[in-house]
């Protein structure tokens, strides 16, 4: 669990920081601990050195920067005249110099190079170069000839001149390890003979190379991750923008569509109900169908708007504690008239149940759609029964009818967008369904932490639709208030849907 809480940056920092402590410790032991034990008492300088390395590591995120700071730190702390860090570049199959210490000698040397030092790449196949040998043989080397480190890329005359000006006598070459792999090499140069660096110190450098390897590999990984997450972030931004454009478009379009649709609806109604001449049966039928179709169109536009908002995560869910049974009572009395038209009996089985924690308005919509569906897909004189039960955590509501039923194969299609089943087409065409209702219900119920599903014995055997909602326990309410604070702006309400 904790693992997921640590992001790559943090991981890198943790690695870098622990590596820093290690390097700091080794450097300190090597430089002060062995040679000048008494300096160990100078806690202040110890702490300052630590602090320095700590800030270096924690603040570097690019490979270049890290390499530079590592090289500087080691060269300065161990008293080398110059340090160079090289790493294997798999793409060009060569060894690349990526950092030269900013010690006085390092700076002199840098100025004298005929080409930028970063462009120097030694082919990994060229075993005449001491760096390549150190890598291949996984062990350190010593040379008094700097050209050993530059063949075959730069000519000997230039290098021996540079070596003279830099006053370098001895160069140590160390492979850099990451686990058991060699990933590059470092050069440390001094103006004196090799015995000036005691054996113990040389051994310690080997260990430092392991830490250098780890730090470099981690930075590489981090660089990759940073690149990936950067491009992901950009893609995500673009998607968000597109989503908003789509949502805005649907909003505006549906708004503009509604004015003429309302006019058609209103005038069709007026023609049917306020005509100054008696309507022929035919005209009446035409007008009725105009009215029904317009209502259906308005319903469709509302649902599309809702789907668009739900899909862009912009539906505001405002949960509250309420009594589900009294809401059901309200919805039932709302649809009683419609049920009466089809002589369908609507019954609610009441029991004593705790309150739920959900968005009342949205549950109202869900109930309207479920009962509306039951009414649509149940023939005359049918029965609809609503019942509730609790398992202590959730309250499950079931809307059961004895209507057309659903075949086994179709059950999984129900909650999809436009998931209207074939057989129901006639029923839906006459009553004005778009097949978005259950999809919206599912999204709404799930956003409140519940589930929705349906069961049926098969065609002609009626269907049951079930959904669950969390009981308003302290824990549920607290959790919601935590989530609440994370919510963004630009939230939208749900458009009302009729049944």
């Amino acid at each position: 669990m904790l693992y997921f809480l640590i992001n790559p940056t943090t991981l890198l920092y943790i690695t870098a920081i622990s590596a820093t402590f290690f390097i700091g410790l080794v450097l300190f032991t090597v430089r002060y601990g062995i040679k000048y034990k008494r300096l160990l008492d100078e806690k202040n300088s110890y702490l300052i050195a630590f602090q320095k390395l700590y800030t270096i590591m924690a603040s570097t995120v690019t490979l270049e920067e890290t390499a530079q700071k590592l090289t500087n730190a080691i060269a300065f702390e161990l008293g080398f005249q110059a340090g160079v860090l090289t790493i294997i570049d798999k793409q060009s199959n060569s060894l690349k110099r990526i950092a030269v210490s900013q010690t006085p000698e390092g700076i002199i040397g840098l100025k004298m190079f005929p080409v930028p030092y970063k462009s120097i790449g030694i082919p990994l196949t060229y075993t005449g170069n001491l760096l390549i040998r150190a890598i291949n043989e996984k062990k350190p080397f010593i040379t008094h000839n700097m050209i050993d480190l530059f063949v075959p890329v730069l000519p000997e005359v230039i290098i021996s001149n540079i070596q003279k000006v830099m006053k370098i006598k001895t160069s140590f070459v160390y492979p850099i390890f990451y686990h058991n792999e060699v990933i590059g090499a470092m050069i440390f140069s001094i103006s004196g003979e090799e015995h000036e660096i005691p054996d113990l110190q040389r051994e310690a450098i080997m260990r430092i190379m392991e830490v250098v390897g780890t730090v470099i590999e981690r930075v590489k990984v981090y660089e990759k991750l940073a690149l990936t997450s950067q491009s992901l972030a950009i893609a995500n931004e673009k998607l968000k923008e597109l989503d908003k454009i789509k949502d805005d478009f649907v909003s505006i379009a549906s708004h503009e569509l509604r004015t003429p649709m309302t006019a058609i609806r209103s005038y069709a109604w007026m023609a049917l109900n306020r005509s100054d001449i008696p309507l022929s049966a035919k005209l009446k039928k035409y007008l009725e169908r105009t009215l029904i179709s317009t209502e259906r169109l308005i319903h469709l536009v509302n649902d599309m708007l809702n789907v668009s908002r739900i899909e862009s995560g912009r539906i505001q869910i405002s949960p509250e504690v309420f009594d589900l049974q009294s809401l059901i009572q309200d919805v039932v009395s709302e649809v009683e008239l419609k049920a009466g038209e089809k002589s369908i009996s609507l019954k609610v089985n009441y029991t004593n149940l705790p309150k739920v924690f959900a968005d009342l308005e949205k549950i109202h919509q869900v109930l309207l759609n479920l009962i509306g569906n039951a009414l649509k897909f149940t023939p005359k004189n049918g029965n609809i029964v609503l019942s509730l039960m609790s398992d202590g955590m959730f309250i499950q509501t079931t809307v059961a009818d004895n209507g057309v039923g659903i075949s086994k194969d179709d059950i999984s299609k129900l909650f999809q967008k436009f998931g209207r089943l074939d057989y129901s087409y006639t029923a839906a065409a006459a009553t004005g369904g778009t097949g978005l209702g259950l999809y919206i219900c599912k999204k709404l119920i799930e956003s409140m932490g519940g589930k929705i599903w349906s069961t049926s014995e098969g065609m002609g055997k009626g269907s049951q639709f079930h959904f669950t909602l969390p009981i308003a326990s302290k824990q549920v309410i607290n959790q919601a208030s935590v989530n609440q604070t994370l919510r963004e702006d630009g939230m939208m309400p749900l458009e009302p849907t009729a049944i």
């Binding site: 708004h255 509604r258 004015t259 309302t262 005038y267 109900n273 505001q316 309400p493």
Partner: protein, 131 residues
Amino acid sequence: MDTVKKILIVEDDQFLREFYQELLTTEGFLTETAQEGEEAASKIKKGGYDLILLDIMLPKKDGLQILEELKNNPPSTPNGPIVVLTNIGQDATIQKCFDLGATGYMVKSALNPDQVLVEINNYLKTAKNPA
């Protein structure tokens, strides 16, 4: 019966405006109309309407601006309830209208004319005996 009720219809769409007017006059109401925000504002300022149907999206001056002006500067002859007409049930906007003194709202596309009449009669009733 009481005196004839006077209703102001503010709606920019001609067909809808004329529809509300016809529906309400047939029902025996006295009606006046305004088709954009400035015209509406100056009529509302005169006062004396028993009910005002106010579209929100209006040219020149929108419904919210009109409500705000009225709140800061109530007319000397008072008006009855203001019922906001909307196309979209956008909570935020509707809440703003309530904050600015509107009594209610109707989502135009959601209602058939008979339902519009029921709503209007309800608003007129509640205005007479404020609970």
